[in-house]
């Protein structure tokens, strides 16, 4: 409850204990009095109603059902009503809003928001405060559509101007802002957060709210701080502005640092740490700034400790994970701070076995937070281990860690599954862990299961992890192959999500690396040439690169090259031509030329190039290209074609000499790049032998 009631007297209604029917009857009486012709009686009626509803949810529901809300709103908006009556109406409405979510819904359906916003135009401060208090209660409810605050463009500027009126207006308005600028990444929720941040920003939220950070009222300070945390989240514009703001001559970041002092209330420490975290992630503060390294990070680690409330531990861990995600140095520091890695292991111990027996209330509390705790811990582990091998080792050596991940992968909560797979993905970047703990715990099994049927965001992470598990040195590769993974990956390449297509083809590429003939054939069969070529024209460069990578892996070792080319040679050559002629990056072209070089290494496949003058001209062109990488790849290709010890090398050498390749090679022996120079010399030697 955020109940800040200004009601001076509180009479417990006698009816509270009476029977239900009686309640309705009395409620009816309250509503009837709102229609009394004498305004004085109406006022007394509203005051009595106010006293009757405090803390009485049933009474609130009754009054709403009996239609009190439209009448109260009418009285509130009526300019003929006395200011006192209008104020009392706003107070009663505020009290009704304090009830259940259904109450809020009913109030919103009665268009309470525009009515109250209209009321803010009045000049009387007491009335304004009553309206704001009610608006605050309505807006902080999750059932209220946030957008309603932004429908009328004059509302935000007016709210900004009311900030100077009193500590109460400051508290309520900042609280409304903090809740109506909520950040969510889900696209299906419909509202885009930067929009709200930008609206508030453009109306001077920062300049207006910054001074409130040193308000004498704790509530105001706290709500102002919360406002900044939602404004700065993933918002470079806001964050960049914030670092330059001075409050009473002091930099804002220093104000936040002071709010993180260990004798400050935990809520304040945590929210200040969030502000600095968001400013840092938005690029406004460097990750090696002392206020991050020596203040924010340790503060967030403290929030993860056992002494904190479960909610605080969840928020602390999530914020910390977010803070250090991109920075290995912060990850290293966090990994040794206050035993964080083992401290997190405690997040998995809820509900504890003790609480189950002794205290039902606590069990309920624990259960409610257990999922949140687990997913927060997984997220933080994922972030901690995303770069440093030693940290990953430390994490996997934490008690029962791998078992926890494995069971996390099959939990009912999607949030936990996603976080568990993120953690697994982070750890799967370790060659050593892939070889040891991943294999020992057969993590591929739940992973494969997860891939069968999961939302996209889980699939992206899971398939990405699978890519790592399919690396050639991973002992899990074999069992995964046997579990029919190829079909699954091929189906991923047909997904609408580019990330899933990349992961699918990437995994196939890894799988094809130095694979048996049998596997390669199976990949080509399952994928189908049609899909392969569709992927070669994929708009996503990553997909294209990985597809080329797959081709290159398929076309390695001579017998494989010849076999693949004998069955799909024509299409592959077509695709190669297409890419070399198209508008592509250097990397793509280089990869394509490498494929060509592989083809040139085949016994029979060579002829597909030799008989294609157009292709030879292209190779010639790339040998003279300004980019050394492309020159090198093209030269490699020629070198393979004229290699001495193979059948028909003489004819090929002759043909290529006639086409002027020798001259080019000769020129390249003078190249400044030592690799290219060497390669050209080696090729020239083929002619000399």
């Amino acid at each position: 409850m955020f109940g800040v009631t200004i009601i001076p007297t509180f009479l417990w209604p006698e009816i509270a204990t009476s029977a239900c029917a009686e309640v309705t009857a009395t409620s009816r009486h309250y509503v009837d009095r709102l229609f009394d012709p004498d305004p004085q009686n109406v006022l007394q009626g509203v005051i009595d109603m106010k006293n009757a509803v405090i803390g009485n949810n049933r009474q609130k529901a009754n009054l709403i059902v009996l239609g009190a809300v439209p009448r109260l709103l009418y009285l509130l908006q009526q300019s003929s009503s006395s200011l006192e009556l209008r104020t009392e109406c706003a107070v009663v409405l505020g009290s009704l809003a304090m009830g259940t979510e259904n109450n809020i819904k009913s109030l919103v359906d009665c268009h309470i928001i525009p009515a109250l916003l209209q009321g803010l135009l009045c000049s009387d401060l007491i009335f304004i405060e009553a309206c704001l208090r009610c608006l605050r209660t309505v807006f902080i409810s999750p059932v209220t559509p946030v957008q309603l605050l932004y429908t009328d463009p004059t509302v935000i500027p007016h709210l900004m101007s009311l900030l100077s009126r009193s500590q109460h207006t400051q508290e309520y308005i900042t609280q409304i802002f903090a809740h109506c600028c909520k950040v969510t990444h889900s696209s299906f929720l419909g509202f885009l957060t930067p929009e709200h941040q930008t609206v508030l920003f453009n109306h001077g939220a920062i300049q207006n709210i910054a001074p409130l950070l040193i308000s004498p009222s704790f509530k105001v300070r706290m709500q102002a701080l919360k406002c900044f945390s939602v404004l700065a989240y993933e918002n470079a514009q806001v964050s960049m502005t914030l670092v330059n703001v001075l409050v009473d001559g002091e930099q804002l970041s220093q104000v936040f640092v002071r709010m993180m002092q260990r004798d400050k209330p935990i809520e304040m420490q945590l929210t200040a740490a969030k502000c600095l975290t968001y400013m840092c992630r938005a690029g406004a503060i460097r990750t090696d700034d002392n206020c991050i390294v020596l203040k924010t990070l340790p503060c967030l680690v403290r929030m993860c400790s056992k002494e904190r409330l479960l909610e605080e531990r969840v928020e602390g861990a999530e914020t910390l994970a977010y803070l250090m995600e991109p920075d290995i140095e912060l990850q290293r520091i966090a990994s040794v701070t206050d035993h964080l890695v083992s401290m997190l292991a405690d997040y998995f111990k809820y509900p504890s076995s003790v609480s189950a027996i002794t205290d039902i209330k606590r069990l309920d509390h624990d259960l409610k937070h257990a999922h949140e705790l687990r997913q927060a811990a997984f997220k933080l582990y994922a972030s901690l281990g995303s770069n440093d091998e030693d940290i990953r080792k430390k994490i996997t050596e934490t008690e029962n860690m791998m078992d926890r991940i494995v069971s996390g992968l099959s939990e009912s909560s999607i949030k936990v599954r996603l976080a568990a797979v993120r953690c697994l993905h982070s750890l799967s970047r370790s060659v050593q862990q892939l070889r040891t703990s991943f294999h020992d715990h057969a993590v591929w099994k739940p992973l494969m299961k997860l891939l069968q049927n999961a939302p996209d965001e889980v699939l992206v992470m899971a398939s990405s992890t699978l890519c790592n598990l399919l690396l050639e040195f991973s002992p899990s590769k074999e069992p995964i192959l046997e579990s029919g993974v190829i079909e699954l990956l091929c189906s991923l390449t047909q997904s609408d999500s580019p990330a899933l297509r990349v992961n699918g083809i990437w995994a196939l590429m890894n799988m094809a690396f130095q694979a048996d003939q049998k596997v390669k054939v199976e990949i080509v069969r399952a994928l189908g040439t049609e899909q392969l070529f569709r992927l070669l024209s994929d708009p996503d460069t990553n997909v294209l690169m990985k597809t080329l990578g797959l081709l290159r892996n398929l076309l390695s070792t001579r017998p494989h090259i010849d076999q693949v080319m004998s069955s799909h040679g024509k299409q592959i050559m077509q695709a190669v031509t297409l890419i070399l002629e198209g508008e592509h990056s250097i990397e793509v072209k280089e990869q394509t030329l490498c494929i060509l070089a592989n083809i040139a290494d085949g016994n029979t496949a060579k002829e597909l190039i030799m008989t294609n003058d157009d292709m030879l001209q292209k190779i010639k062109y790339y040998m003279g290209h300004s980019n050394v990488k492309l020159q090198l790849a093209a030269t490699f290709c020629i070198s393979n074609l004229i290699w001495n010890e193979e059948d028909g090398s003489q004819e090929r050498q002759d043909k290529l000499r006639d086409m002027g390749f020798v001259d080019i090679l000769h020129k390249l022996t003078q190249a400044s790049d030592p690799n290219l120079c060497d390669r050209a010399k080696t090729a020239m030697q083929q002619y000399l032998a």
Binding site: Q261, R262, D263, L294, P298, I333, V336, T337, D338, H339
Partner: protein, 620 residues
């Protein structure tokens, strides 16, 4: 002793020439003193000095010290663990630190970097690294393990090497220890630590060099922030200390204590108003209170002659029975004569400079530096706080019911002080039980009525004054000087030069004559009652004033300060009260003194929470 704390008030002679080595050194020492004082304000260094350097005596021979015994280097062979060597700091960590912290910078990791940083008790073998033996604890650089009185370490933190700064923090409240590396806390390393541990480092291979920072420089880790957390915790513990269930008792007790305090110091008008508004009886006749007030006013304004005379009139046998007291009063009278404030010299035409006579008119703030200096740590139960509380009425009188005075919140403050003090008397036991396995009782004499109340746990309600008091009417007694017939001259505000006995020749002669009388009185006293070193010193100090041309700025000049009238005044007041069979100290002052005593007892018995429960914090 090398690390003897230098006088904090001593100023370094400022040299305009080149910075000499000495100057730099003393600057560093000054900084050290300052930092230690602000970090560990509760530590009484006379009793428990703080570690300031490594001890050249308490080390193994393979250890070399340099740079004022702050740098440690290894000078043994370093072939086997048998060549390990340690050094302890000069002093153990005092419990009154609450939280103690030092840092060690690795200058060079030497050959293998087998360095240990930690703590050990006195007498632990120094031919070892910290942590290997009983009562020895260490964090080792080569493997990052912690060693808790054992040859085998536990995985603890990262390794450390050249350039790293390792900090070691001892929490004397919960008896744990954590380390820091380059300003980052590494988490708890040890629990259940014994008391009286010394900072210790150990080295084992050639080339290893480390520097200690016991407060000489700012710390890399923000230890103040950690202390703030613990101060808040302890204070919350005091605030939440249960004071009982029976309604009104706690409140009634606080009121009683406030009332008795006011009566004791003869603030009769205030006391009467307070008693009336809180519905209490005053146990002394109003006339008697007024008499005491009159005498006190005379003493405090430096008019000793009149004070003695009045005392003799009102309490005829008092001074006869207390010759030492009379002697003390007379010595004070002599001093006031020198000062030019005593009535006898005043009537001879002397005028005293305002600065010497400003006391009654302008109440001083609580924490005037002079008064701090006067309250050295060697007080017996609560005299110190009597001085302190002397200033209280100045604001108490401002705080009583409207109609008298304006603000009231200060009266509430007295109550808060009282409630704190009473809680504090109960707290040590609680703290001790909640923090350690040791059990002991505090044997503090608590006046019977206090104890009784303290046990009967009542809900505290210090805010009760806010209702209905304002109507109580004045009874006509005011605390101001004018109504008591003592005419305190308004003195020139011009800065007249201070002159002996106010500059009058006659006054000087009278003073000299009085000095002779005093001398003979002293001799008589000695003959009758034997030697009394306190009396002897008192007289000697007083006479010494005459040895200087400007007594006020002489080394004994402090005696002339009006603040010195307070102990005289309270001793006299107590003596008068005793003749009436009233307590010679008000229960409030007693309780405050007991609380302070309790805290120092906690410090001595190793209960670190005393560091964050200073009585002073609650007195303003």
């Amino acid at each position: 002793m090398a690390s003897q704390p230098s006088d904090p008030n001593k100023t370094t002679p400022k040299s305009q020439q080149l910075f000499s080595c000495d100057l730099a050194l003393s600057e560093q020492e000054k900084e050290l003193n300052q930092r230690l004082r602000s970090l560990y304000p509760a530590v009484n260094e006379q009793e428990t000095p703080l570690p300031r350097s490594w001890s050249p005596k308490d080390k193994f021979s393979y250890i070399g010290l340099s740079q004022n015994n702050l740098r440690v280097h290894y000078k043994g062979h370093g072939k086997t663990p048998k060549d390990a060597a340690s050094v302890r700091a000069t002093h153990p960590i005092p419990a009154a630190c609450g939280v103690y912290y030092f840092e060690v910078k690795i200058i060079s990791k030497g050959r293998d970097g087998y360095m240990g940083i930690g703590l050990s008790a006195q007498g632990v073998n120094m031919n070892r690294l910290p942590g290997w033996d009983k009562h020895s604890y260490g964090y080792h650089g080569d493997d990052g393990h912690s060693f808790c009185s054992s040859g085998t370490g536990q995985p603890y933190g990262p390794t450390f090497t050249t350039g790293d700064v390792i900090g070691c923090c001892v929490n004397l409240i919960n008896n744990t220890c954590f380390y820091t590396k380059n300003g980052h806390s590494l988490g708890i390393a040890f629990t259940d630590l014994p008391p009286n541990l010394y900072p210790t480092v150990g080295l084992q291979t050639p080339g290893e060099v480390v520097d200690a920072n016991f407060g000489q420089h700012p710390f890399v880790f923000d230890i103040e922030d950690y202390m703030r957390e613990w101060r808040t915790k302890i204070q919350a513990q005091i605030d939440r200390f249960p004071i009982g269930e029976r309604e009104g008792e706690w409140q009634a007790m606080i009121q009683k204590m406030v009332a008795s305090y006011l009566v004791h110091h003869s603030y009769c008008a205030t006391a009467e108003a307070f008693a009336k508004s809180t519905d209490q009886a005053v146990h002394e006749e109003l006339a008697s209170i007024k008499n005491r007030q009159k005498i006190q006013k005379l003493v405090l304004s430096g008019r000793m002659g009149e004070a003695i005379e009045t005392t003799q009139q009102l309490y005829p046998s008092l001074l006869e029975r207390n010759p030492d007291l009379l002697f003390m009063l007379k010595v004070r009278q002599f001093i006031e004569m020198v000062n030019g404030t005593d009535s006898e010299v005043r009537c001879l035409g002397g005028r005293s400079p305002k600065s010497q006579d400003s006391y009654p008119g302008s109440p001083r703030l609580f924490n005037s530096p002079v008064h701090k200096a006067s309250s050295s740590q060697t007080y017996q139960t609560s005299t110190y706080y009597i001085h302190k509380f002397f200033f209280l009425p100045a604001w108490v009188k401002k705080t009583l019911p409207e109609g008298y005075y304006k603000k009231r919140d200060k009266t509430t403050q007295v109550s808060i002080t009282v409630s704190f003090v009473l809680k504090l008397i109960g707290t040590p036991v609680l703290t001790q039980l909640s923090t350690g396995p040791k059990k002991y009782r505090f044997l503090v004499p608590i006046p019977s009525h206090c104890t009784a109340q303290n046990n009967t746990e009542v809900e505290m309600e210090v805010d009760h004054f806010s209702n209905g008091v304002s109507e109580s009417s004045s009874n006509g007694f005011l605390n101001g000087s004018s109504t008591h017939g003592i005419d305190l001259e308004e003195l020139d505000s011009a800065q007249s030069k201070r002159q002996l006995c106010g500059g009058s020749q006659a006054a000087i002669e009278r003073m000299i004559q009085f000095g002779r009388e005093l001398q003979s009185m002293s001799e008589n006293l000695r003959r009758e009652r034997g030697k009394n070193s306190a009396n002897k010193k008192m007289l000697k100090d007083a006479f010494s004033l005459l040895a200087y041309s400007d007594p006020w700025s002489s080394p004994v000049g402090y005696q002339l300060d009006s603040i010195q009238r307070e102990p005289v005044c309270s001793t006299l007041n107590s003596a008068i009260l005793e003749t009436h069979n009233l307590p010679k100290q008000p229960p409030l002052a007693l309780a405050v003194g007991q609380a302070a005593q309790c805290l120092s007892l906690m410090a001595r018995t190793g209960s670190g929470s005393c560091a964050f429960a200073s009585v002073d914090d609650y007195l303003h």
